[in-house]
């Protein structure tokens, strides 16, 4: 077993003439929490899509748990999960039916028990048999986290999970994210929230115009002046 959860070498991704990612090199250790910052259009979502096998790289290699994402994406998908600003949930199914459906698709053993366990972790047991469509966006996002962890992935990608949530829901979501955070689980999260990101990450990466322009471990970051650092590398604010 390789020491790295994710190894990215010379990764580029283009859409026609538009280069979304350019020559990215990144290695993420097992259990490490990496936060990716960047202005809109920097390539954060594209990076997450490529790492999570949803999009194929134009060039370069990506290995997840030692597996090349192009040669065996199905094997990679057993070990990863993604929480995005879209929840992937079906509004007209109940929370239980959604979790059961995704659990079946992941061959989750003891499905009933697992559904109850993950719903307890996101603190939504009373809403288990409610249709997802009637829940608030914040609650739907918590169900989405339950969906994402039902097969106990070793790597969790979070693509701006707090987008569109009110401040109260963001706080709740952060608590839930803390509860699914285990020492052995690798987390890669993109966010615009600099303060929250710096607090949550072991390492931060700043992406701008498809390139990594800055990366540092939490111990090396000047947290007080991080906003200025971010601004100097991207030319923008949060």
């Amino acid at each position: 077993m390789t020491a790295w959860a994710i190894e990215v070498e010379a990764l580029s991704k283009s859409f026609g003439r538009n280069r979304a990612l350019s020559n990215i090199d990144l290695k993420i250790g097992r259990g490490e929490h990496v936060i990716v910052f960047g202005p809109n259009g920097a390539g954060k979502t594209t990076l997450v899509k490529v790492l999570s096998t949803l999009s194929k790289p134009s060039s370069g290699t990506v290995r997840v748990d030692g597996e090349d994402i192009r040669s065996d994406p199905v094997k990679v998908r057993r070990r990863i999960s993604l929480v995005s600003h879209d929840t992937f949930l079906y509004d007209n199914l109940t929370v239980y039916e959604n979790l059961r459906f995704y659990g079946k698709m992941h061959d989750v053993p003891d499905l009933e028990e697992n559904v109850r366990e993950v719903i307890a972790r996101v603190r939504l047991e009373p809403r288990l048999h409610d249709r997802v469509g009637i829940l608030s966006h914040g609650m739907q996002q918590r169900v989405s986290i339950a969906r994402a962890i039902i097969h106990n992935p070793s790597i969790l990608f979070l693509d701006e999970p707090e987008a569109g949530l009110d401040p109260q829901a963001v706080v709740m979501l952060r608590d839930v994210l803390e509860s699914v955070n285990t020492p052995e689980r690798t987390i890669v999260m993109t966010t615009h929230n600099l303060r929250q990101g710096v607090e949550m990450g072991d390492r931060v990466v700043i992406l701008d115009r498809g390139k990594i322009v800055y990366q540092a471990s939490r111990d090396d970051i000047d947290t007080v002046n991080f906003y200025e650092i971010y601004q100097s590398y991207t030319g923008t604010g949060e």
């Binding site: 096998t53 949803l54 194929k56 999960s81 993604l82 079906y90 007209n92 995704y102 079946k104 969906r147």
Partner: protein
Amino acid sequence: MRGSLSKVLAIFWKDILLEIRTKESVTAILVFALLVLVIFNFAFEPETATMNLVAPGILWVAFTFAGVLGLNRVFAIERENSRLAGLLLCPIDPMLIYWGKLLGSFTFMFAIEIIVTPIFLVLLNLPLFLPRLLLIIVLATLGFTSVGTLFSALANNIRARDIMLPILFLPIVVPVIIAAVEATALVLQSSPWGDMMTWLQIMIAFDIIYLVVATLVFQYVVEG
């Protein structure tokens, strides 16, 4: 094999459950198909010889256009909330998504046909018990939905998808519609089995070819 089947059935059951809850597709398709039949019934006198000639065409026009309406919805439910991405993130061969969706679209269309066909036969003063017509409907619907499910996934990524689906899909599915119309005409004329064998063989060949092709290319249609 068993694991794959359970995933196909999970996708199928999820679509059935969503349809039962929303009734978005079935109601629209059923109303449309019935309207076509009623309008044509007023246009032609049921007793005339012309009716024998046009009846198979009327039936398959109703099924074809109602079917296109239904196919537009097959991947529309996966487009909202990026649910297709959620399915693609599951550790399964994408062809299982195709088979689950195909099973759903076949079931919806076949259910509509089972309701509409007796009404069609009654409106046109034709005998109700026609088992050979049932066989034609099954074969043609399988061919229709095997191509249609693939094209529905393809059109899902196109901006004017509601218009593009019939434009892309109908030229491909024309052979199976022609075979179904010709075979239906022979059934309504009470011709012997042997006369309709060629048309049945065309439909069987179409079904096999497009099931294999669609299964193989589906992955490239849905994955970026």
